[in-house]
Amino acid sequence: MGTAGKPGHGEEAHLQPSAPTLPVERSARRTGGPRFLQTETGKGWLTISPPLIYAVLLLIGPIIVIITHSFWTQDYLTIDRTFTLDNYKAALTEPIYRDLLMRSLFVSVTVAFVTVILAYPVAWFVSFHGGRYKGLWLFIITVPFWSGYLLRILSWKVILGYKGVLNSGLLYLGVIAEPLNWLIYNVNAVIITLAHSWAAFAILPLFVSLEKLDRSLLEAAADLGDGPVRRFLRVTLPLTMPGIIAALLIVMIPTVGDYVTPRLVGGKDGVMIANAIQAQFGKASNWPLGAALAVTTMVIVSLVAGAIVLMLLGLKRLFK
């Protein structure tokens, strides 16, 4: 490296005899190359290109491949590449897939609202009463979230199981005479587990939006005679709406495709669409149908998310 640089030095020194201008000269040479790369835009694109190319190759590329697959047909071990909409027809009309899709949407929307409603007061508390310890509070709240997705769900299975902690505890205390069989293996168990798993994800955007809230607006509302409820509905809620929307989406979209929770605590009545998608890529080995189910899920959850956002924005206008 050192020797390779030397001739360059000499050349520059020769061309630019005055020593103080040397670094400037070198810096101009360093950014040399195609003219585009010398502009701010060019430098920006160049800097971001490694992670961007990675995301394009391993995220956008594969998603396009999946979308393409969804228009093909599985023909035993080979794939018939003639265009067809049959997979979508199956995904939207076959009762099993329609039911799984509806249930997944129901679960994800419910989990999103439950999580956000339960998390809002906590985010409020940290933002308004956290004082010097806001960072510590956020850390304490996010730690359980980092304890491993699989392990958290396993833990709920241990709690809610027929011979689990809750049942055996209540039996021991004499509260119940025999184990409750409606705790696990149903949709409620899935909702409880997911709402617990995603709590931290909801708190962070809510906290950020509450932090941005200008406190003097609340004081002004109080001075003008608004009570706490009116202050909340007319100032806090509309102004933190972006955080509420972000929190809802950040919980709702990933949970619609959850695979492990329905498998571990959902039982027969808690199966969700991800389990059907996985089956098509595993045992059933029908990739095009699996692909169509995945695309359908994403499109429908995006539509529902869009509708919820519009509804909340409408609600916000109503309060103002």
Partner: protein
Amino acid sequence: MKLLPSPRRVLSTYVIFYVAILYFPVLLLPIFSVNDSATPMLPLAGFTLKWYEGLSGNAAMLGAAWNSLIVGVSAAFLSTVLGICAARAITRHRFRGLGAASGLIMAPLILPEIIIAISLLVVLLGLGLELSLITVILGHLLICVPYSVTVLVSGFEGFDPSMEEASRDLGETAFGTLRRVTLPMLAPSIVSSLLVTFTISLDEFILAFFLSGTEPTLPVYIWGQLRFAAKLPNVLALGSILIAASLVLLTAAELFRRRAERKMELRP
């Protein structure tokens, strides 16, 4: 009036209750991992370490732990390198398309993992690649980079770009500036990014489940053991070790992040 608790009190009580519920399932695993009973039930049966002893000398588990280590270290290192590029572009350059580009890089945060997993699976198998630890690393990189970017953006925001300019004006090369100014200033954020992404990779299940082939990572190994009810106490012991490891790594990451923040406050 005394009969009604103050709203502040109600709120504090609610928050304590909420945090307790958050921690309850997480603390349950360690408690039952030292419980002398084959099934996790109340009342507790007595203290034992036999479930932990049962783990030692388990070759399959040690193999899975080794796999997790390889995947975690690779994913942490590579995602931090990619994260530095993205965070630098986001904090130091303003250009058209930056929003779209960074949005795309952050997208895996909000996509259902199963969508990422199956699309990667189809492409990798379509390219004729064998599923291996490398394919798991490729998948983990996608979900780790957004976290690296988040941590490193605050790192870049924490120091003055004029320091880099000064270094260049004083004759340092681009590489020299990177090595002697940028990276040392960023060091706490880089360490924090490495620790956070390693933890994410260590805990990640869905991508590893789809992309790991015959070499399981620890969560995939645990998933396999869940089929055997008799193995549950051992799984709880292994899970407790994993939770403890995650906790240590994250606390370290948080301490480094705080250090980065303090560095920022010291800035003139």
